[in-house]
């Protein structure tokens, strides 16, 4: 590759400097030469084979009934129609939506509160600020697998850290991960633990973009802290808030490792998510057509959410 490219480059470079300068002046750099395409080629070859082709192929597959190595049979929209009457799919959709709602309604406000506190007069020294930042960031760099293994031990009914603590203060010790009622809330708790730091960082970045003189001017005019928060900080933070909410929702719809390793989606599908269901259908039952339809339903949800984000951003930009 390197060899080819340098040859291409040599062909472009003219022998006489003066002639080069004149010919260069007539056109923008790189126009009508092979050079840009040679630089693009490696990426787009990999991209085409391992991403674009599978995207198209999955779309095609979603219109076929194909199990294992059987001959695929065209069934039109039947896979998509089946989704609406598939109890397990609907349960997974419901669980995943609940999980996303928790991210939006609990995780995001909590992250905003943490970011505001770290940024405010509560934490005056920059060193303490970076300490909090690093500590909250720790869960996000830990793999979901390690997080799940860790919390498996924390949530264990008989020998878990959590129940041991609850027992010592005289509270009931429920069967966290094996109870239909508590499995999903437990997973949500772990997810909040995992993502709180990342979302706080997003908010901190947003807060840093708001110039200090605005709130200082408001203070001089006699505004209270809460007035400044509601009327100055919050409106200016709207793009960040929107970004965090949409990001959290899209991500929630894709959660796999933590529930898969902690509960396998159980008990009786109480914590089944869309991604776990797709894995089950596609790689345990090998129903490739149906799994592709589930995959596309997930993609459509993500695209719609991303689209809403884009539209709202435009609306805010026009304000």
């Amino acid at each position: 590759m390197a060899h080819q490219l340098s040859q291409g480059g040599a062909a472009v470079a003219a022998p006489a400097p003066v002639a080069t300068r004149r010919s260069r002046a007539r056109r923008a750099p790189g126009t009508r030469t092979m050079t840009p395409y040679l630089f693009l080629a490696p990426f787009f070859i990999v991209y085409g084979i391992f991403l674009l082709y599978p995207v198209v192929d999955a779309f095609r597959l979603s219109f076929f009934e194909q199990t294992g190595i059987s001959t695929p049979k065209f069934i039109g929209l039947d896979n998509y129609r089946a989704l609406f009457s598939d109890e397990r799919y609907l349960k997974a959709l419901r669980n995943t939506t609940l999980y996303a709602l928790a991210s939006v309604c609990i995780l995001s406000p909590l992250a905003l509160a943490v970011a505001l506190a770290v940024r405010s007069f509560i934490v005056p020294s920059p060193n303490l600020q970076s300490f909090y930042r690093a500590a909250f960031f720790l869960p996000y760099i830990t793999s979901f697998v390690v997080i799940a293994l860790m919390f498996g031990l924390v949530f264990d009914t008989n020998y878990g850290l959590l129940n041991s603590f609850l027992d010592s203060v005289g509270l009931p010790t429920p069967n966290w991960l094996r109870s239909e009622r508590l499995a999903l809330p437990s997973i949500i708790l772990v997810a909040i633990w995992t993502f709180l730091g990342l979302n706080s960082l997003y908010f901190l970045a947003g807060l840093q973009n708001i110039p200090d003189d605005l709130s200082e001017a408001a203070f001089l005019d006699g505004a209270t802290r809460s007035q400044v928060f509601w009327h100055v900080t919050l409106p200016l933070l709207r793009p960040t808030i929107l970004f965090v909410l949409v990001q959290a929702t899209i991500f929630s719809f894709q959660i796999f490792e933590i529930p898969f390793l902690l509960t396998r989606g159980g008990p009786s599908d109480a914590s089944l998510t869309l991604a776990i269901y797709l894995y089950d259908v596609g790689f345990q039952q090998f129903e490739q057509g149906y799994a592709s339809a589930i995959g596309y339903s997930l993609a459509v949800i993500s695209m719609v959410l991303a689209g809403i984000q884009l539209l709202l951003f435009r609306a805010f930009a026009d304000d």
Binding site: F50, V114, Q247
Partner: protein, 279 residues
Amino acid sequence: MTVGMSRGERVTRIVGNVVLMLFVFLTIAPFLYMVSASFKPGHELFSIPVRPLPESLYWGNYKILFDETNFVRWFGNSLFIALARTVLAIVLSLMAGYAFAKFEFRFKRALFVLVLATLTLPIYVILVPLFSMMIDFNWADTYWALILPFTAQAIGIFLVRQQLLGVPNELLEAARIDGAGEWAIFTRLIVPLAQPVIAVMGILFFTSSWNDYLWPLIIITTDEKFTISLGLPSLIGPYSQEYGAVMSGSFLGTLPIMLIFLIFQRRFIEGIMAGALKG
């Protein structure tokens, strides 16, 4: 700021820091318990009440991990795969990002929009066809399947383009006039200029490869080819309950990423925050 603080503000500051410290404690506690559990023998791990600290430092779990499992092999596999994936992804992103930043060519806009459109695409969409493709290529249960399909990273193109847009065209023109070939301009001029973004990509790609679980779960079946993420959960199952060894493995498996984080904290946060650029 401190001078003019009222009593109410002083109370708020104390309460606020207590709450934040409580959050920090809740964040770190599971990690501390993981490390502590890795030094507990089985009977201590499963005894009531649960003690936060082991009675004495028991090294047996680490011995089991190194002597009776393929942990060292898994660690090596994870390292090799993450490095290969990261280097390839960086090279491809640099080349293509450079083309998007500094050249004019046909379909430039369309190609860029295409790349951007796949930024938010969930990987779940392509799992089934990608798996069939790996079978067709005879790549099932090989390192190839873990490395190559993930070397075209849209976010990389985005980051490199962003960084190189700021490089003045005159600089490239001057190099061309001096007779430098296009490849030489790329390797000697562009790559050094892109160093900050190379670091960000390195951290981003390495971490995501190191922590990857679903794709290895689907494609790898031989214990010797497992990555750490795949190997550790495999130690808990119907036939073995080596929780102590799993905890010691989790601790050792998290160390590399934590080290990178501590050394390159600023770049690391930049790398993760790169996601925010998408908006």
